[in-house]
Amino acid sequence: MATYAQAVRMALHYAETHLGLSHVFGQDVGAPLGGVFTATQGLKTAWNTPLDERGIIGAAIGLAMAGKRCVAEIQFCDYIFNTIDLLKLAGNTCWSSNGGWCLPMTVMTPVGSGIRGSIYHSHSFDAMMTHIPGWKIVMPSNPKEAYGLMLACLQDQNPTMYLLPKALIYGKGDEAIPGEPSLDQEGSKQLREMIDKPVDPRLAAQWEPNWPTGLTDYTVPIGQGRIVREGADITVVSYGRTLPLCVKAAHRLAEQGIEAEVIDLRTLWPYDWELIATSILKTHAVLYVNEDTEVTNFGEHLIRRTVDELFYDLLAKPRLLAGEFIPGIGLAHTLEQASVPQLETIEKAISEVVAGKL
């Protein structure tokens, strides 16, 4: 049973051996560390860069221009903000050259709260990123989809932004990645021994990964969401850290007779509107949940579209539950809990929307 970080690592290994991935780079991405979240351990194409986010993004653009397939990592999305104009450049290169240039490049960056990361290790980036046209943006919420969406990004001809919810990065899923050892505890242990670099420096110095031989080209298509839990009373749309919380809240509310349909959006752009709309036409109520700050939040766009296209099908006002509009996430447990949606606030919001149905 792979963790999210192991899933990313296995996807990158599959891509460097089967899909022409030639460069995986960023600060501390190569040996000895293999990424601060271990997602790039043991990769033959991983290397370390100077501590220079603009250089990292610029290098990715240039490599893509040269026809090289790469993954560039920004260690935390909190440090990607000084590259915004380069992200704009990557997003407009095909358009501004009237189709002359394409940039098949992937940027990977951990996002969100959940690790007590304080002000500069807890930012979200989905609202900012969805303001930049020309990118495809994904945010998987479990290991299997982390694997499948990474392979999708690495076969796309456009810039792709891969957002990793860091709160989930050591979590395991309940579905096997094709080719990984068995889903049980023994399988987890086996996989750990095969592809996790030993912590002991003496063992780490001699270590070589033993990659599972049965990994496949399992791909989750960009642009397709997924119904994680079916329900008839309300549609709950989320992604990333808040997605499993929404599922948990839905299960708890089922005991009270509220059946929530939970959608994992998976791709933020281009997103699966058909899936959302079909669900809302069934439930006639919707709650969007994410943890980015609420003002000019991506969920506000989804509400606007919901009102534009489905207003007369709604039996309750559509609602967004998002992070508070504050400059950062405070370190204290009480501050972090109060800053971004938690299980209780999600459960409460679902109940309120359902209670407000006409």
Binding site: G55, L63, G67, S96, G99, Y271
Partner: protein, 329 residues
Amino acid sequence: MNAATPLASSDLLAIYDLMVQSRILEEQLIKMFKQGHGFFWIGGPGEEAFNVPLGKLIKKGQGLDYDFLHLHYRSNAVLLAMGMDPVDPIRQMRNTATDTHSGGRNFCGHLSKPEWNLTPITSPIEVQYVTAIGTGIAQRDHKTDAITIVTGGDAGTAEGDFASCLVWSTRPGQELPILIIVTNNQGGISTSYATQHAERHIADRAKAFGMKTNVIDGNDVMESYAAIAEAMHYVRTERKPFLLEANVSRLYGHSSASGANFQAEEDPIARFRECLIQQNVLDVTSIKEIEEKHTQAIHALISQVLTERMPDPASIFDYTYWQQKGRVM
């Protein structure tokens, strides 16, 4: 022409011809702006003595075996020397649908040509220094004599991306084959270089990284040609970066935003013309013929472009993604 061969009279004449063509083109683009046939002008009149030799020495083509170009917006003369049709900048100035570089989407001087590894020229004056790192890495890993060439002005070197290029191109054991060129016209729009920079030469900053450098008179064709050839030879063979700083004129100011009026700085074309007259390569008659030839040709191209269609408003969504047409969602 190659680096080792002294320039023959025919080569000198060809360079002069291209310099004149470029100057007339730029002056006509300015006129188009002033006549309301375009919204904005920016270009490189005053840089011809450096830019034409640069264009002549580039290994032109597509892919890793040819030079990758990350140029700035004063590079029309470079592209003309590489063989660009002069109608291209005219179409971009007019923003016609026939503009092959941006489809009427970008300013004049913002050229893009994948067939020549010319990456899209952008308005930000620093981003080319970091995108050059990527093509430099790809060419470092490829068995080739092709190199990455990045150009910018003096003002843009204050940006961090310039420093990034110095750091990344000189990582020990991972040096990149990048020719970094700074054309120093002593100013950024209205702000003089001397009031903002304490370093005597911009190239001096590269010395801290152990990089080979040179500072030249970019208004001198022969000096420019020799210095570019020498720097290129070094980068092509040693697979290490080189910073070449060329002092140049800026004859019509920063852009149309500052009026695009002639400014009394040294004219590299006049200087080269005198040189060629003294060498008996040019005479009064041929000088006039060259100017008339290009003036008439560019007038004809402008007349043609003025009849060409504007982009279809429905095309605004096209190519947001690779090979995509129409709205995405």
